[in-house]
Amino acid sequence: MKRLFILFVLLGSPLGAEEAEVTKALRPASQRFAERDTRAVPDFQRHVVPLLGRLGCNSAKCHGSFQGQGNLRLSLFGFDFQSDHRALRADSHSGSGPRLRTGDPEDSLIVMKATEQTDHEGGQRFATGTWEHHLLLRWIESGATGPVLKGAHKEASAVAGNPPARESEQSADALFRERIQPIFEDHCYECHGFRSSKGNFSLSNREALLAGGDTGPAVVPGNANASLLMKAIEFRDDGLQMPPSGKLPSESIAVLKQWIDSGASWPDAVDSSPQATNQELVALHCQPSEILFREAGQEVQLKIIAEWKDGTREDVTCLCRFQTNEGEIVRVGSNGLATSTGEGDTHVIALYDNGVAAIPVLRPLAPMAQPNHQAAEGPRANGVHPIDGFVNAKLGKLGLVASEPCTDAEFLRRVSIDLTGTLPAPDEVLQFLNDQSKDKRLLKIEELLERPSYAAWCTNKLCDFTGCHPKSISSLLEVAREDGYVKASQWYEWIYQRVQQNQPYDQVVAGLMLADLSGRSGSMPSFWTRQSLEEPKDTAMSVAHAFLGIQLQCAECHKHPFDQWTQADFNDFSRFFDSVTRTKTRSVTEEVMTLGLLRSGQVKLAVGDDPRKPIMDWMQDPDNPWFARAFVNRVWAGYFHRGIVEPPDQFTPANPPSHPQLLDWLSREFVNNGYDMKWLHRQIASSQTYQRSWRPTESNRNDHRNFSRAIPRRIPAEVVYDGVKQVTAAPEDQGEVRANLRRRASGHLSMRMAGTHAMKVFGKPDRSIVCDCERVNQPTLLQAIFTQNDPLMRMRLADSGWLIEIEDAEEAEERLDTGLLIQQVWLRTVGRMPSQADRARAKKHLSESPTIAEGMADLLWAMMNSKEFLLNH
């Protein structure tokens, strides 16, 4: 009987019903709040904030902007739940009444505004009577409960349900919220907020305030006159005047004095640093997990299920934000309905809480083209290069026909530029073209890998990634610049030595990461001692960018819009670099800390530990999700002008790889081969995928994403500079001009040349911001002006050793073989033999020129301005 009763209770109670749903997933909010009389209660984190996000309320243009909008400021992209809750709960200053009226939800200002029953600059976000409307009303009338902080009891934070506080407490709280906090926000938090604590002083909570910073305790509660804070803001002391931008208005000073004199009360809940809540999203599941379209206009409704750590699951489709990475292929409505618009492949992205789901979308070419490769075969089948296996498999799926292999001449020029940053020498071209051996391309790759120019070009790129920039090393004072050059050159040389010995990539990085900061025993500390790294967060961003291909900076100020990173993740990661950034002389943990490694593990640090060590260990772990991939992908991008993840420094869930299995394979094998950089270059350069022609087939003209053909791209700044020198050098100087790294823009001159006119015009990065986008390979007007008429170009021609020899020979009336000279022009500039038409036009020009030397100068000028020269194709 008792047993029966329990069963009855379980069946009958709404709780039991909910639990039974758990394994399936809670119905979507749009259904549960469809009726006004629903008894469902929305949750702040799970429903209210995502709804505000979907409606656009917390976007940068509206209440998510740093100034807020119309007195209401929400956290951008909504992940600072306490502050959002506080903001919604606070009275608006506009005199339009309270934002929330628990007794009378319909009259709450946020509801009136969002439904535009009262004037709202953002217009109507939803109509009355909709589920969105009901959801907000239910939240308000059920007490407008806020987030539950990690480790806190639920009651403590159910602010709206708090028992009324004693009156004095209430007014002290009000004083803080209404008068004090705004002053801190406007004048102090930029330097002393939770993101930054200049002078080791932070105003993020009362504890931090009382503790003070380097100059001692900031406030003596009850005694403003004895408080350092007052001294600083009253400008009583020449050495400590705050804020540095200028004295506060006297009203503000007066109210701060009053506040301190009355005990500096600070409501517990007010902490400017966002804290973790007790609810953690584990995964976003998507149905279907991928979309295969067949024709334009075809539609697929996506369904997104959120899975929380407590095991609950809920259909959150109606609370997600949806977007697409390529509107020409698929469009997606705010309700998750995906519509095919064009052929090709991309992803639809769904965002909810801090989760991101990327759903692959693919539509083959119509009508299905006949693939010229064995699409179904996996890697290594029939001796197929693994890279080609992965790439061709996807081409087959898409119905794309790959381009033919490139010519020998194209291959030689392309691989010479990509592997060594150098144009092939004229003799080398002839030799290669005449070589009849079948494996000559493979042999050429091996030969290039042994050249010093390979190590130089590779080093130049590693200097790009790691931020080797003379000006950021030295202080910004002009006098220190020379020191910056010296250190930047040492940095370059340090990497060069290791690349030349083909040291494994992870060991090169370990050398930088764990550098002895004194610079003794051959260590290279400049990565850490850069003046530009002022705060630990700068260092954290730099490490994440250089070695993990991750851009953390969004999370510096707000939740990353397309990634899982929150400010808490970023703050944790930054604390690893506290000591090294602040002292620039040592990297030592001063107190026991447990820190998170970007959500892939926790590290406990003991006093005296070098906190960089666990990061290096974690990066060297073969399972590290980014370390090997970021590098492999960047190297790939160097060859194809596009990464498998593109841009290469945006490894985020919302920016998935175009070829995930290829990236997996390449990074796994790179690790298995001992991080051997030459192995990596060899793999890529020897694939058919790399050796394709740029000439499109009927189907792949518009393909920029699947490597079905070579994409012509402008040669990098350093190659332009060095290449022009090579083209104009005397025959006997050819070897010297190519081999003397001290005088090459891709060699030691790399540091000196940063910031010069030529390098700026051609987009050599300053290496001063953490972004791969700093190197620009787009053509511009200024580049065309440069190659056509810059004094440097004109000077190279006027001083050309080769042209001077021709001139001398002409004056001495030696017989010149113009056919051979013309051939040399083509070999030098574009690495191929001239065609019949080329020869005819060139001959005509020489015959019309006053001297052969002058005509040759024109030919060199013209060819160096040709697309064939300026592009790597």
């Binding site: 200028g246 910004l476 001063s768 620009v776 511009t780 007007l781 065309a784 002006i785 056509q788």
Partner: protein, 424 residues
């Protein structure tokens, strides 16, 4: 339609026939859409001139603060400026002085970035300088670049991308032949010869024949190659840079100093149709960074600045261009109230001043004030962001314009600034 910006378009339609009627009407529509679009000149007083020795004198302060210079009455009642700026003093109706600008970056490099962009320098974003923004918003419609920087630009186009870099013109010197890197045909190269070279290039550049529209890069190279040729061979562009076409008396009016000659070149470029000119006033011998000998150095630097800027205002007004050209002059910060032991003034970011003219600036006024020693704004003060917002507003670009950075991040042009009230 009293603006030369529009007049220029009209001239194009009338004389060059460069635009079709519908294009012309399109431009008209663009110009009348909201704010008026104007050309602009930023006179960057590099090194940071002391505010209290130029436009914000404190004659009643103690001697170790007020320094050696005396104020002189301007043509605006109650407005006094430094005695070494007499020509500007007689033209005070033409400009507004903004005092009490304040920030907290007292380092040259970072402060220059701040004042040249209106955004505090950051490690993660590189902001574009004013001229690059203008060339992004007002693309060049003539054979001229949209943006010219006199002396190599310091910041560049930032997140807008290298397409919006300025064309660099070196500082001209009085009486010396002038050439512009990349534009001037040097060493006896004639336009005819250049034209034949270009013909040869077009004949030989056939590797991508039939695939000219294949990819952005291929298309871009062709487009820019043609544009570069048009610009270099165009008589109009070369004339704009050719200072020898100025009468000696006009050249002398601007002064025989590189300051004046640079400003004369800026005027010529604006007249020809360039949309934005940055002039970096930083002589090789010493600039406004007067840590030592502040007063003797300013006695050398202020007169040519005074003469050059006065001549610029006069010339633009004479040609009816002042109302269509926004002008701003500022350094990167102010200088210490107290004179140091070397007779100099050191870096001081808490107070500085700026001058604005042209466009819809209400001249003949001072906005803002500093305290008794010129150390702080007397009340709230303005930020460099406010200055930038005002300048952009006067150029006809909303300071709240949103751009996509080169990594797709939405960027507000001037995030933290607002146009200064009463200025425009």
């Amino acid at each position: 339609m009293n603006t030369a910006f529009n007049r220029r378009h009209f001239i194009q339609v009338g004389t060059l026939g460069g635009l079709t009627l519908s294009q012309y009407l399109g431009l008209q529509a663009l110009a009348s859409d909201g704010a008026q679009k104007r050309s602009a000149i930023f006179v960057f007083l590099e090194g940071a001139p002391s505010h209290q020795d130029t436009f914000d004198l404190k004659p009643n302060a103690p001697v170790d603060v007020r320094g050696e210079f005396k104020p002189v009455q301007t043509t605006v009642p109650g407005l006094q400026i430094c005695e070494h700026l007499p020509m500007l003093a007689t033209r005070a109706q033409k400009y507004a002085i903004i005092r009490g600008i304040t920030h907290n970056v007292a380092d040259h490099g970072l402060a220059k970035k701040y004042l040249l962009t209106g955004n505090k320098a950051s490690q993660s974003v590189s902001y574009p300088e004013y001229g690059s923004v203008v060339s992004h918003e007002f693309p060049s419609a003539t054979h001229l670049p949209s943006y010219v920087s006199i002396d190599e630009s310091f910041v560049g186009p930032g997140y807008l991308g290298s397409r919006f870099s300025p064309l660099t013109a070196e500082k001209p010197r009085h009486g010396a032949p002038y050439s512009v890197r990349g534009i001037t045909l040097e060493d006896g190269l004639t336009v005819e010869k250049y034209r034949s070279q270009k013909q040869l290039l077009d004949d030989l550049d056939v590797a991508f024949a039939g695939f000219e529209n294949l990819d952005d890069q291929v298309r871009g190279l062709d487009r820019f190659s043609k544009q570069a040729f048009d610009m270099i061979s165009s008589p109009k562009a070369r004339a704009a840079f050719d200072l020898s076409q100025e009468k000696p008396s006009e050249s002398d009016r601007f002064g025989k100093h590189e300051f004046g000659q640079s400003l004369l070149l800026a005027a010529r470029l604006i007249e020809a149709g360039v949309h934005f000119v940055t002039v970096r006033l930083r002589p090789a011998e010493f600039d406004f960074d007067t840590h030592q000998d502040n007063f003797s150095r300013l006695r050398t630097l202020l007169p040519p600045f005074d003469r050059g800027l006065a001549a610029l205002l006069d010339r633009l007004e004479e040609r009816g261009l002042l109302s269509s050209t926004a002008i701003m002059a500022a350094g990167e910060f102010g200088r210490t109230p107290k004179i140091n032991n070397a007779g100099g003034r050191d870096h001081w970011a808490r107070a500085m001043c700026a001058l604005m003219a042209g466009g819809s600036v209400r001249g003949g006024q001072v906005i803002g004030a500093t305290d008794a020693t010129a150390a702080e704004p007397a009340s709230v003060g303005f930020s460099p962001d406010d200055l930038a917002a005002s300048f952009f507003a006067n150029v006809g670009i909303s300071p709240k314009t949103e751009f996509q950075s080169n990594v797709g991040r939405p960027m507000t042009l001037v995030r933290d600034g607002h146009p200064i009230r009463g200025l425009l």
